[in-house]
């Protein structure tokens, strides 16, 4: 039996997050048990795996808890206005296509106030990776219901239960024309790292909807005992990987949210189209 030796080989040096962080900006502002930090770590490992250079990354965010992420990472970082991250990011990317643009946004930021920019960035297929941190609440303002808050859930603005049906960021991204659409959770952190990596190396608009927990507001209001409890119920038990789902009977999939790469197609990317078609035609017409 060589299991011990194998196990020993498996152990690697822990990932050096400081390589990509602004260490003097930590600890971060997120509450105890908030999933955003877990997602950030998966993102940094994915960036490392994709071999991206810090100078060539521009991270853009909107407003909200998750949108504070750019302050902690050592890239070109742009913390913008509520809902506008993808519009600012579109400008950065088109002006300097050699930059790898990563957008960090929350479900309220991306899907409510920023819904229009979300739809149209997907439609253009402009090369950027968008992480939608879906915690089903407006955490920064103290726990109001968001576009992904489940029906009946309690929030400070839905004390009697939420009557607005939530929508699915992935379905919207796909319908809008995004060429890479995936979902992950903070609980499945290794799978998430892989998913984000695949999104980063994809050419075009890549959307990764990341389900993570807000124990402080969503959790407390909806009787979850802890962050762990939320991760187990919502992220672990509430989801199933899309590949596993193929083998499962329909009754086992009821109420489950699919994880993994849900949609991936090749379509011309916006900045390349601009360069190859518009600029060339314009030059020829001089």
């Amino acid at each position: 039996m060589s299991t011990i030796a194998e196990k020993k080989e498996k152990v690697s040096v822990p990932f050096d997050y400081n390589k990509y962080l602004r260490p003097n900006k930590l600890p971060h502002i997120w509450c105890p048990g908030c999933g955003h930090g877990i997602v950030l770590k998966a993102l940094l490992r994915a960036i490392d795996r994709a071999g991206l250079e810090k100078d060539n990354i521009c991270m853009v965010s909107g407003i909200g808890c998750s949108s504070r992420t750019p302050g902690y990472v050592d890239f070109n970082t742009l913390h913008t206005l509520h809902g506008r991250a993808m519009a600012f990011a579109t400008g950065v990317k088109l002006a300097k296509p050699e930059l790898k643009v990563i957008v960090i946004t929350g479900d309220g930021d991306a899907l409510a106030i920023g819904g229009n920019h979300f739809i149209h960035a997907c439609r253009r297929n402009i090369d950027m990776t968008v992480l939608v941190m879906t915690n089903s609440t407006y955490g920064m303002t103290g726990g109001q219901y968001s576009p992904t808050t489940p029906l009946d859930a309690i929030a400070t603005t839905s004390r009697y239960g939420n009557i607005e049906p939530p929508f699915d960021a992935c379905e919207m991204a796909r319908a809008s024309g995004a060429t890479f659409v995936a979902r992950g959770t903070a609980y499945h952190t290794i799978e998430l790292e892989r998913t984000i990596h695949d999104a980063l190396v994809h050419k075009g608009t890549s959307i990764v909807d990341v389900i993570d927990a807000c124990p402080t507001y969503f959790g407390r209001a909806n009787k979850y005992k802890s962050a762990t409890h939320m991760m187990e119920l919502i992220e672990k038990d509430g989801t199933v990987n899309v590949k596993q789902a193929e083998k499962l009977p329909p009754e086992k999939l009821e109420g489950k949210v699919l994880r993994g790469v849900l949609h991936k197609v090749e379509r011309p990317e916006y900045c390349e189209q601009y360069e190859n078609l518009i600029m060339q035609k314009a030059a020829a017409k001089k």
Binding site: K25, K54, N76, L94
Partner: protein, 377 residues
């Protein structure tokens, strides 16, 4: 030297020429009457010079992308009109606090709301100054002819780059849509200012360096990795709650414009030397006013015109000085009285100040101005 070719251009087309002359290489916007020709022109011309044009999904996206383009290092512009100008206001504030050079063209039409899209107006004067919340610096230029739209657009870019702040080009629908002969200036004929480049080591770079009133701005992706936020921030760009730092920066972004306003002001004086009554106005209304001055002078009446090409910061000194030597200042404007309050403030009771307003979508005529002026002669 061969004579330069004159072209008959529309005001909005002259804006395109001015932007390109100034080195604009990024345009993002959303179609809106009566500014759309600016977008159309930029969409044709920018790709020919290696620049980028994008029609965004809405007005907010139009200015947001332009801010992004500017941070990536390109001189950037957006154009709009009343309703779009309202929608852009939050982003204008962002560009103010984040100190991002940007030119915003507002071709003024009747309001409020959808108002009168094809009618002229000068009712965004105060929206330009106070439209975005919070205290902030404002520079706005006000051309009144097609050639002047070109030169003032160039000047707007120069001011935006020099002071790292959004600069507005305000002109009414009449000036935007009228056609006049224009000679495109040769390279070098007009001054073109570029933002100050960062030259220090990346690790020593502060995007809001306390040692400067206006710090150099490095483009994203140039090896200077820094943070930009719309929150109150320290010199390194990161958010702060330090009252002293917040106070200093809120004051500094205004001071950088206010302390240099003598260099930003630009006024045209017509027949003011011996004037007993002065007219103060901008844009298409200034054209009527000039006609009125000529007519009244023919009758020996001592009337002159003060026409600011920089409406913000407001030409306090020129108006104050003028108020001491005239009986009255008449302020014709295509709104219900906006500039007139500023004129009253500066005149400090030294002379009569009277508004001449019109909001029916028609221009103020020379006859109306002559009638208003005669009362004080």
């Amino acid at each position: 030297m061969a004579q330069k070719k004159k072209r008959l251009l529309q005001g909005n087309e002259a804006c395109v020429e001015g932007a390109l002359y100034a080195g604009c290489r990024f345009y993002s916007g959303y179609p809106i009457t009566p500014s759309t020709e600016v977008a159309e022109g930029m969409s044709v011309r920018l790709p020919k010079v290696g620049g980028k044009f994008i029609q965004m999904e809405d007005e907010i996206g139009g200015i947001a992308a332009a801010i992004g383009g500017s941070l990536a290092g390109l001189k950037s512009m957006t154009a709009t009109s009343g309703p779009g100008f309202s929608l852009k206001q939050e982003c204008i504030g962002y560009a103010c606090i984040a100190e991002v050079p940007l030119v915003i063209v507002d071709v003024m039409r009747g309001g409020p709301a959808t108002g009168y899209p094809t009618g002229p107006s000068q009712s965004d004067i105060m929206a330009a100054k106070w439209g975005t919340h919070g205290d902030h610096p404002v520079i706005a230029v006000t051309p009144s002819s097609v050639p002047e739209i070109l030169t003032e657009t160039v000047r707007a870019f120069n001011l935006a780059e020099k002071y790292r702040t959004p600069v507005m080009v305000l002109y009414d629908e009449i000036v935007g849509h009228m056609r006049e002969p224009l000679t495109i200036p040769e390279p070098g004929e007009l001054e073109v200012v570029d933002r100050e480049k960062a030259t220090c080591k990346p690790e020593e770079y502060f995007p809001y360096d306390d040692r400067h009133l206006v710090a150099p701005l490095a483009p994203f992706g140039s090896g200077y990795r820094f943070h930009v936020t719309g929150l109150n921030h320290k010199q390194d760009g990161f958010p702060t709650n330090d009252p002293k730092v917040i106070d200093r920066n809120n004051r500094r972004i205004i001071e950088k414009v206010e302390t240099d306003k003598e260099r930003i002001w630009k006024n045209e004086e017509t027949a003011l030397d011996d004037a007993e009554v002065a007219i103060f106005t901008i844009g298409s209304t200034a054209r009527s006013a000039r006609f009125a001055v000529n007519e009244l002078r023919k009758s020996g009446l001592k009337v002159g015109l003060l026409r600011p090409l920089t409406i913000w910061p407001f030409p306090d000194a020129a108006v104050a000085e003028l108020s001491k030597r005239v009986n009255a200042i008449v302020v014709p404007e295509l709104n219900l009285g906006q500039m007139v309050h500023e004129v009253e403030r500066c005149a400090r009771g030294n002379c009569e100040v009277e508004a001449l307003t019109r909001v029916d979508g028609e221009p103020i005529t020379p006859a109306q101005i002559m009638h208003a002026v005669r009362k004080y002669l």
